[in-house]
């Protein structure tokens, strides 16, 4: 079969059959809806048909306070979740990999456990933990600070987004931790030994030696963390539904509300297009700023 021979008559098409399934699935379930979504943002879409309305939806964004709250909150999510997850993940990875007396395998497993629990369970557990009067956090607060009023972790509009971000950090730190574990394991032993012989302590070793060497891991986590924060939906939807009074809306929940609750399909597509553009701009910006490589465990790909 000439198809199977690299330098056969099929020449540059020898690999075509092998990529067809991937391209087909990608085209049908990703590329097509993605293009549709951008198109729809210029239409008034109903279940029966659609009317072209130009950029009206985009102008509508300017006078939509819920969208603006959602946008600001989503940006806040990106910055705070990545900062916290990187710091905690990196610190824990260093300690677990290099400084433990015992239990390395156990801790590697334990910190990743939140990642394997479905968000609908996490949501109910945290809602109960934070509940006034019967939640365990309330109980702890009453025991330690009986004279101060219990803060409305999920009911105070100024606090709620931070509370939710905290839940995300609880869940995703293990992922950051594990990628740092993978990254650290690829730093040659000689480097560690040499640095130690030179008398480098924990802080200089971790900040001046390992930190720059883990650059590919940082970039990967920065990119994946950005997209993860932008695609967050279940925690907010299930814990607060975007409330109180839309204070905790993020782009994902706003799209859901406009598209699936209010049936504003065209307008929801507009917000979704903004989300897509935001993701692409941030990714390109990060690649430009920090070097254009994307890797999983130090393997670089163009």
């Amino acid at each position: 079969m000439p198809l199977n021979r690299r330098r056969g008559s099929w020449g540059r098409f020898s690999g075509l059959v092998y990529v067809v399934p991937a391209v087909a699935v990608f085209g049908l379930f990703t590329a097509f809806p993605l293009v549709e979504n951008v198109l729809w943002s210029f239409y008034h879409v109903t279940l029966t048909g659609k009317d072209f309305i130009g950029t009206a939806h985009y102008r509508q964004l300017g006078s939509d306070p819920v969208f603006q709250t959602a946008l600001v909150n989503s940006l806040l999510w990106i910055v705070l979740t990545i900062a916290a997850q990187m710091t905690l993940g990196y610190g824990l990875a260093l300690l677990v990999e290099d400084h433990l007396v015992f239990g390395r395998g156990f801790f590697r497993t334990l910190f990743f456990v939140p990642m394997v629990i479905t968000p609908s369970i996490i949501s109910i557990v945290f809602t109960t933990l934070y509940a006034p009067s019967y939640g365990a956090v309330y109980g702890l607060w009453e025991a330690l600070l009986p004279n101060l009023p219990f803060p409305g972790l999920l009911s105070d509009p100024n606090l709620v987004t931070f509370t939710l971000i905290g839940v995300n950090v609880w869940q995703w730190t293990g992922f950051f931790f594990l990628l740092y574990v993978a990254g650290l394991s690829q730093i040659p032993v000689e480097v560690r030994e040499a640095a130690r012989v030179d008398g480098a302590g924990f802080v200089p070793l971790s900040t001046r030696v390992y930190l720059p060497m883990l650059r590919p891991t940082h970039l990967t986590l920065l990119l994946l963390g950005t997209v993860q924060a932008l695609q967050q939906f279940p925690l907010v939807y299930l814990i607060t539904g975007g409330g109180p009074d839309n204070a905790s809306q993020i782009l994902g929940t706003d799209i859901f509300q406009e598209g699936f609750i209010l049936n504003h399909l065209g307008y929801a597509s507009t917000i979704a297009t903004v989300l897509l553009i935001l993701a692409l701009v941030l990714v390109v910006l990060q690649l430009r700023l920090f070097g254009g490589r994307f890797t999983v465990s130090q393997r670089t790909l163009e």
Binding site: R5, R6, G15, P21, A22, V25, L28, F29, T30, F32, P33, L34, E36, L88, L92, L95, V96, D98, L100, V101, G105, F107, T109, F111, F112, V116, I117, T118, S120, I124, V125, L129, A136, Y138, G139, L140, W170, G174, A182, S185, Q186, V189, R192, V227, P234, L238, G252, I255, F256, F260, L265, S269, A272, L275, L276, A279, V296, S297, L301, E302
Partner: protein, 275 residues
Amino acid sequence: MRSASRRGSWVAQAVVTLAAVVFAVPVIYMVDMALRGPAQSFSPRFITGAPTLSNFVTVLGHLSLLRYFFNSTFVAVSTTVLTVVIGSLAAFAFSRLRVPFERVLFPLLLAELMVPLASLLIPLTVLLKFLGLVNTEWGLIGPYTAIGIPFALVVFRGAMDDFPAALEEAARIDGCTDFQIYRRILMPLVAPAVMVVAIWQFLFSWNEFFLALVIVTRNSVKTLPLAPLAYQGDFMTSPGELFAILTLIAIVPILVYSLLQRSFVQGLTAGGVKA
């Protein structure tokens, strides 16, 4: 090996242990709530005494829970198999064969990693409705596979590129076809990468909530992430039973991951041979 360079410190041990306890609090709390009798159900204490298994006995009578498990298993296993097969075939072509428009196609497939699901969810829902896939398992399996392929492609290509072309030259001279080289030579070599992709994809499709919420409304098709919502109403007055259900649902992926944790981490760190 690295162990030679390691020197433990009790300070580090204490810090990590403390962090682990903090991280474990929500999970311990979930189990404790499930073990409480009705009298302690609404107690704000973190751990109450007198644990009882009665909540588990009650909820195990609800056989509907089994259906959610079955649906999730079917969806997650199908997605995982499809993602591994489709992803590795494509990675093989990009790594070893000639693909037309390779320089456009590969980055395009990878770019999907950076596309948030919400930015295509609305047309995707309409498309699935058009295809008759709403309220079917395949309405989830298809998109989940599409979402998983870019990550599979990165991991498989990285692993395959580690092996020099000389590896299969001899086999080619002996008359091996491309597919035999993929199946008999490369796939066994990239087994650690298969583990990483399979575990990741299984966990992702086992836990995915957003798409499941909008695509599946019929109870007989619902996957586990939707189960707590279905039961939340019924057990409003008896949180113990609700938390027993949550514990039963959570325990499966926790056990599976604990057993496979070693291969997952090894797969992530494999390739350390390469500079």
